[in-house]
Subunit: 133 residues, 2 copies
DNA sequence: TATGCACCCTGTAACAACTACAGGGTCAAG
DNA sequence: CTTGACCCTGTAGTTGTTACAGGGTGCATA
């Protein structure tokens, strides 16, 4: 299959596929007579893996680690566990941050709707603590 | 105060402070005899505002808008409202995404702890649907 | 007095993870 | 036989920083 087909099969930008190749995440594919990239099922599988892992928020370096582990399936699962655990901790932190941010913003909005910017607490609330209001 | 003091007072990298100056988010400070940047309280307040807004997930362009509004306090609050409302919607989406991701990941982890990579469901689960397992 | 050392300066290049050209080649259909 | 959709390489842009390289300044200490 050509690059466009594989890209659309995985909801990936064509340029992104070439980018993954350039940074060594995707192996160099065969070329046809017109020098077009010619992909097989193994490329599709690998690209699908990369995209799903990216969707789940893994960085490309983490994806690289996971792919490395997939190539050594007889080893312990602990490394995969470690990567995912770190990731889970990060996610929990981000959720907490966003929730407190959400609280602040919705309070800001409630105040803000009362009047003009002169009374608007969005600006004031973001001013550093301890400065004159 | 010099740049290092202001940077550490706002938990900001010195290079980042200079960067904000370069892109016009922070006004040019006075210089002392040694050509060192010399900041006052107004710079500190503005930098604190920028950092807190960034922490809250505003882009630098949105920060620029908010700072613009702060400089014209007699205007309507509607613009601030609009920016914050868009942002609040984004935050809700991000929280939802992260929560579903969290569920998936923690399920993966539970499965993963059972054995070796050969049995590890993280890799399998991320493989494309429809491929041989 | 010299000599560290921490701090400051400018300017440029790197980072992630793409995305967007510019400027060209290939190929099937009308 | 040309229009359009697709493909190629290579370079440069994006956002928000961060990291040098290669210097200058200022204070304390041996």
């Amino acid at each position: 299959m050509k690059i466009g087909e594989m890209a659309s099969a995985t909801a990936t930008n064509i340029e992104t596929v070439r980018h993954y190749e350039k940074i060594g995440l995707l192996p160099l594919p065969a070329r046809d007579a017109a020098n077009y990239r010619s992909y097989g099922q193994e490329h599709l599988a690998r690209l699908s893996f990369i995209r799903r892992a990216r969707d789940l928020g893994f960085t490309l370096d983490q994806v690289r680690e996971l792919l490395g582990l997939a190539d050594h399936r007889d080893q312990s699962c602990a490394a995969v566990d470690a990567i995912a655990t770190v990731h889970l901790t990060e996610i929990d932190r981000k959720i907490a941050d966003l929730q407190s941010l959400r609280g602040e913003l919705s309070r800001f909005l409630g105040d803000c709707r009362r009047g003009t910017v002169a009374d608007c607490l969005i600006i004031e609330t973001l001013a550093p603590a301890g400065l004159p209001r």
